[in-house]
């Protein structure tokens, strides 16, 4: 498995190190791209947001795979349960927040007689 082996086992240690380093590189890249997109402003606003969101989601997978060592093998069922539960909660939080804030926003726009 991708679990880092104890240090006495030189080979396993190397393999573990390689895993972490490649994870680190990919994660850094996925961070740099959105920064680039925002800083240079080359892309349209919609495309920029799409790039940020896309990189964020891939980043999520990279962390799980390289740093938390979660994959789909049967031995990892327990972890998978927790991941699915996390996903459910994230969806509740994000969707709920969007629903609430959009709803509030809509009701702010209609201000008859107001000067907003």
């Amino acid at each position: 498995m991708s679990d880092p082996a104890p240090q006495s086992n030189d080979d396993g240690y190397r393999r573990g190190l390689r895993g972490y380093l490649s994870g680190f590189l990919i994660a850094a890249l996925l961070t740099a791209v959105p920064f680039w997109a925002v800083a240079t402003g080359r892309l349209s606003a919609v495309a920029t947001i799409a790039v940020i969101a896309g990189c964020g989601i891939v980043q999520f997978g990279v962390h799980l795979r390289y740093f938390l060592h979660v994959d789909l093998s049967p031995g990892k069922r327990d972890e998978l349960h927790l991941i699915l539960f996390s996903l459910l909660l994230l969806i509740i939080m994000v969707a709920g927040t969007i629903w609430i804030m959009v709803n509030l926003n809509l009701r702010m726009l209609v201000m008859p007689g107001g000067d907003m």
Binding site: D78, I92, T97, W99, I100, M101, L104
Partner: protein, 700 residues
């Protein structure tokens, strides 16, 4: 450089005016005297502790045996000591507010600003620095024992969590002596807590205290999820776990998801206040509603983080003290999981009145009412557990019974509030304050007291005094009812919360009754202190030698009291749900292991202590703009953590098998010599921690 500039470089915005404890001398007034007095209590308390430690030459043992220890039981005890100290402050603040409002028709004796600080510190302390450390302490002490583990998965991280929580608590205590606290309530809603309305240090104290303890609790959550997933004794599947462990698991999972929300909302408010961001300001595109949204994404799950472990305690207490198997285990597990999930779907009920459309309100109102269903299931399960049991009226059972009646009442008022139409009438009144104290005091606090009484002998090797325990319980129960039921009335009459004075004479009588309740609550607090004192003095009469003073049913009672550092001489093999009860029923409660093995234990570490000290100075530097102090503290924290991660544990210890065997055999020999106590003698000196076989529920 002028001396002015030098001063501000070194001490930021700190000056003499910030020193509360001097105010009584140069600006005497009733209000400032109280403020100064409180500051002096903190200072004298700290000096007394230092003096006592020095007189009793306790510094070395304190550092060696406690502060640098990674033993989960000792960390648990330290959490509870912290919680008790904060409880004293929290209750006294509550009582001062009660006194102020009893006198509120004529304006009272506090200034508005001081009253604002009181409810803000009281709420913050009670939730984050009393209830959280208390339940974390209980979980720390009990869970590894209940699942038959040697320690938590990450012992060093455990002490780091304690360090961060302590740093947060220390900041709140310091705010009493130096400077002032926020007046923005425990929720700290901007824009009122933004820098336009409160430019001073108050909200910054709140923010850094909350962020530090939030990090601590997140780490605790991670630690316990991993521990419960990975460290269970062989044979213990999820459905063999004791109920308290189940609730601890759900609470730990909720901590992982809820605590980051408050860390994020606080960090955003920090950016607003320190760097001129506009997340939550009135102008320039800020939207303070998102603060309410994120805060309650944490806030509502938080109240279930608090109450679930208390439910776990009540489950253990109900089955142990009625001598029966826990009724409806499966339904209790399911109810716990459902509550944990549903609690993430209701946060909007805390701001029904803040502008959403009726549809949104209706959805969250219905979700809120749904939580009543699994909670009701639990109440029935506990009733069925007690039904036809041979109940012993020990102190934990008294708390349990009070809880079952009072919590249902509080739950009913909660269902009322879950209806947005009703909420529009009573939101922001003392009706709400009565409701949540009705959940928090019988639900959380009584559960914590019950757990404290129940597990005390396991850690210290003697039972707590029954008589003073009952006196305390009576005072807490009666005091609670007198102090908070009147608030339902004045709340429904329209008295708003967080209000120090009123002009309506009809309110006054109710506040006088509540004042009497507050006096009883103070007596309850004092009784707890007396109980501890008397129990320590008379400990020879309540010695728990065998380790099983209550005829317990779960694994923690299969160990000696006090529990040895390594918990179990040999990790037990679990065959059934209430492992110890069924072993005892089969006459095999205390098996002699076939062989012993060496035990590896993690070594002591200074890391947690470094986090506590430099976490405090980090917060203090940030609050007072002493940037050098903040940078220095942050560097120390970072270097310590990273250094420790690279170095690993340099002082691991091995306890040789021979030593374990000798200790364990000595204990077994002592047990065999003990007279077994029947349950009728549970509270007499005849109970030495060896339970006589009782009538047992023999149905499968």
């Amino acid at each position: 450089m002028t001396s002015q500039e030098l001063w501000s470089l070194a001490l930021g915005r700190l000056d003499v005016d910030a020193l509360d404890f001097l105010k009584a001398f140069y600006a005497p007034s009733e209000n400032d005297d109280i403020l100064s007095g409180a500051a002096w209590v903190v200072i004298l308390g700290a000096v007394t502790v230092v003096a006592l430690l020095t007189i009793f030459r306790a510094w070395r043992p304190l550092f060696r045996d406690w502060l640098t220890s990674v033993d989960h039981k000792k960390i648990g005890v330290m959490y509870i000591v912290l919680a008790m100290v904060m409880l004293v402050r929290g209750v006294l603040e509550g009582v001062v507010m009660r006194a102020q409002q009893a006198d509120g028709l004529t304006g009272g004796f506090l200034s508005a600003n001081h009253f604002g600080q009181l409810f803000s510190t009281h709420g913050t302390i009670m939730v984050l620095f009393m209830a959280m450390p208390f339940l974390t302490g209980l979980i720390n002490i009990v869970v590894p024992l209940q699942i038959g583990a040697r320690d938590v998965s990450f012992p060093m991280l455990n002490s780091v969590s304690l360090g961060f929580t302590t740093a947060g608590a220390a900041l709140i205590m310091i705010s009493l002596v130096i400077g002032e606290f926020s007046t923005g309530g425990w929720t700290a809603y901007p824009p009122y807590t933004g820098r336009v309305f409160q430019p001073g240090v108050g909200p910054d104290y709140w923010l850094w205290a909350v962020i530090l303890s939030g990090v601590g609790s997140t780490l605790t959550g991670i630690n316990f999820v991993v521990t419960i997933y990975k460290e269970r004794a062989p044979g213990m599947g999820f459905m063999q776990m004791p109920m308290f462990t189940w609730t601890a698991l759900c609470t730990a999972i909720m901590m992982i998801f809820a605590m980051p929300a408050v860390t994020v909302s606080s960090a955003m408010l920090v950016l607003d206040r320190y760097l001129g961001f506009h997340f939550f300001t009135n102008d320039l595109g800020g939207n303070m509603m998102n603060y309410a949204n994120i805060f309650w994404l944490f806030g509502h799950p938080e109240v279930y983080i608090l109450v679930l472990p208390a439910f776990g305690v009540y489950s253990e207490v109900a089955s142990t003290f009625s001598g029966k198997r826990l009724y409806g285990y499966g339904s209790l597990v399911a109810a716990t999981m459902v509550i944990a999930l549903l609690s993430f779907t209701v946060w909007l009920h805390h701001f029904f009145t803040m502008g959403q459309s009726a549809d949104v309100n209706a959805a969250f109102g219905i979700a809120t009412m749904l939580i009543g269903v699994p909670t009701g299931v639990k109440i029935y399960d506990w009733m069925a557990t007690l039904f036809r049991g041979r109940i012993r009226f020990t102190v934990p059972v008294i708390y349990l019974l009070a809880f079952m009646m009072l919590f249902v009442l509080g739950g009913l008022t909660g269902i009322l509030l879950a209806n947005p139409a009703v909420d529009f009438q009573v939101h922001n009144t003392l009706f709400l304050v009565a409701h949540f104290h009705n959940m928090l005091i019988p639900g959380v606090l009584f559960g914590l007291f019950a757990g404290y009484t129940y597990w005390f002998p396991k850690i210290f090797g003697f039972r707590l005094n029954e008589v003073w325990g009952r006196i305390a319980a009576f005072n807490w129960i009666a005091g609670f009812m007198l102090a908070f039921f009147p608030l339902y009335v004045v709340g429904a009459m329209g008295m708003t919360r967080r209000t120090m004075a009123y002009a309506e004479p009809a309110f006054q009588i109710w506040f006088h009754i509540a004042g009497v309740g507050a006096a009883l609550l103070t007596a309850g607090l004092a009784s707890l202190c007396v109980q501890l004192w008397v129990s320590i003095r008379n400990r020879e009469q309540t010695r728990d030698i065998g380790g099983d003073p209550w005829d317990g049913r779960t694994l923690e009672w299969a160990t000696p009291s006090p529990v040895p550092e390594y918990n179990f001489a040999v990790i037990p093999r679990v065959h059934s749900r209430e492992a110890f009860a069924s072993a005892k029923a089969a006459g095999a409660g205390y098996p002699e292991p076939a062989s012993y093995a060496d035990i590896d234990l993690p070594g002591p570490t200074w890391t947690g202590l470094v986090m506590a000290i430099f976490g405090t100075t980090l917060g203090f530097g940030l609050i007072w703009y002493m940037w050098w102090l903040a940078a220095l503290s942050f560097a120390v924290i970072a270097v310590t953590l990273i250094g420790r991660a690279i170095r690993g544990d340099r002082h691991p210890r091995v306890i040789p098998a021979a030593e374990v065997a000798a200790e364990h055999r000595a204990w077994l020999a002592r047990i065999r010599a003990l007279p077994a106590a029947p349950r009728t003698q549970e509270r007499s000196p005849a109970n030495r921690g060896m339970a006589a076989p009782e009538y047992r529920d023999l149905r499968p």
